[in-house]
């Protein structure tokens, strides 16, 4: 079996079943093609360094392959691997403790009084600026915004990954958007 013989419409779940049953590398190739770039993208957004993101991508993929038999199919495969990716990167930064202030899972309420930020404010921003702002805001806020707007996860899915209640997730998204707007205003005052 060659990679090109596997139909592009074959679901992730079927590919996993076949890979576990046959250990044929063609199935691994398909999974790698579908997800490695996305995993790398998340790693580079969170770790801010290309070489570290490449190493992390390799380790995350190994983790996924070694735990593939534990994937129960309760969630989408993409949600499962993104969950491994986010948790891996967050743990990596925690271990290094290079910048503890970036990890603060804040309990501030000062943002609650501010207006809600429209989705369009974030979604229609220039990519260069988005990149700069994501580098400035705390890690947990960045993660939750990536889950919502890049991975298009539902509140329930984010709640499963972050181990927080759905209402807590909604509140965290709201605050992350407010912090995003504040950072934008601080950085681009002239606009």
């Amino acid at each position: 079996m060659l990679t090109r013989d596997i139909p592009s419409t074959m679901s992730d779940e079927d590919i996993i079943k076949e890979y576990l049953a046959t250990q044929n590398s063609a199935y691994f190739d398909v999974l790698y093609k579908r997800y490695s770039g996305k995993i790398f993208g998340k790693c580079i957004s969170l770790l801010k360094d290309e070489a570290r993101a490449a190493d992390a991508t390799q380790e995350i993929f190994m983790k996924i392959l070694l735990n593939l038999s534990k994937f129960s199919g309760k969630s989408k495969f993409s949600t499962w691997i993104y969950s491994i990716t986010y948790n891996f990167c967050i743990d990596m930064i925690r271990r290094e403790k290079k910048n503890p202030s970036m990890l603060v899972d804040d309990i501030e309420t000062k943002y609650d009084k501010e207006d809600d930020v429209e989705d369009a404010y974030l979604l229609e921003m220039k990519v260069k600026r988005l990149k700069v702002i994501l580098e400035e805001i705390p890690l947990m806020d960045k993660s939750i915004l990536l889950m919502k707007y890049q991975d298009e996860m539902s509140i329930k899915e984010i709640s499963g990954i972050t181990h927080k209640s759905e209402s807590a997730v909604k509140m965290k998204i709201k605050r992350a958007k407010q912090k995003f707007r504040k950072t934008y205003k601080d950085l681009y005052k002239e606009d």
């Binding site: 250990q23 590398s25 691994f28 790698y32 490695s36 770039g37 996305k38 790398f40 993208g41 580079i44 957004s45 290309e50 490449a54 991508t57 390799q58 993929f61 190994m62 392959l65 070694l66 989705d119 369009a120 974030l122 979604l123 229609e124 921003m125 220039k126 990519v127 988005l130 990149k131 994501l134 915004l145 990536l146 707007y149 890049q150």
Partner: protein, 75 residues
């Protein structure tokens, strides 16, 4: 509506293109090492256990013959 987050993802995917083959080779190398260790353990696990049993003074074969002699008494 645009999605700048998706556009950022595309930029990262382009950046990944150069790194992708190298990372894939490393993953495949690591996977085959794991597979090799697994195969070796599969093949030799029983023998390794036998060595440890022998080292600790027991004998797998004598235990087996003892069981057989008890189940087929000649007297």
């Amino acid at each position: 509506m645009n999605n700048s987050f998706k556009e950022l993802e595309k930029l990262h995917l382009e950046q990944f293109e150069k790194k992708s083959p190298e990372i894939k080779n490393q993953i495949e190398g690591e996977t085959s090492s794991y597979r090799f260790i697994g195969d070796v353990l599969d093949l030799y696990f029983n023998k390794i256990v036998g060595v440890f049993v022998a080292m600790s003074g027991g004998s797998i074969n004598s235990d087996q013959s003892e069981i057989e002699s008890k189940s087929n008494p000649t007297d």
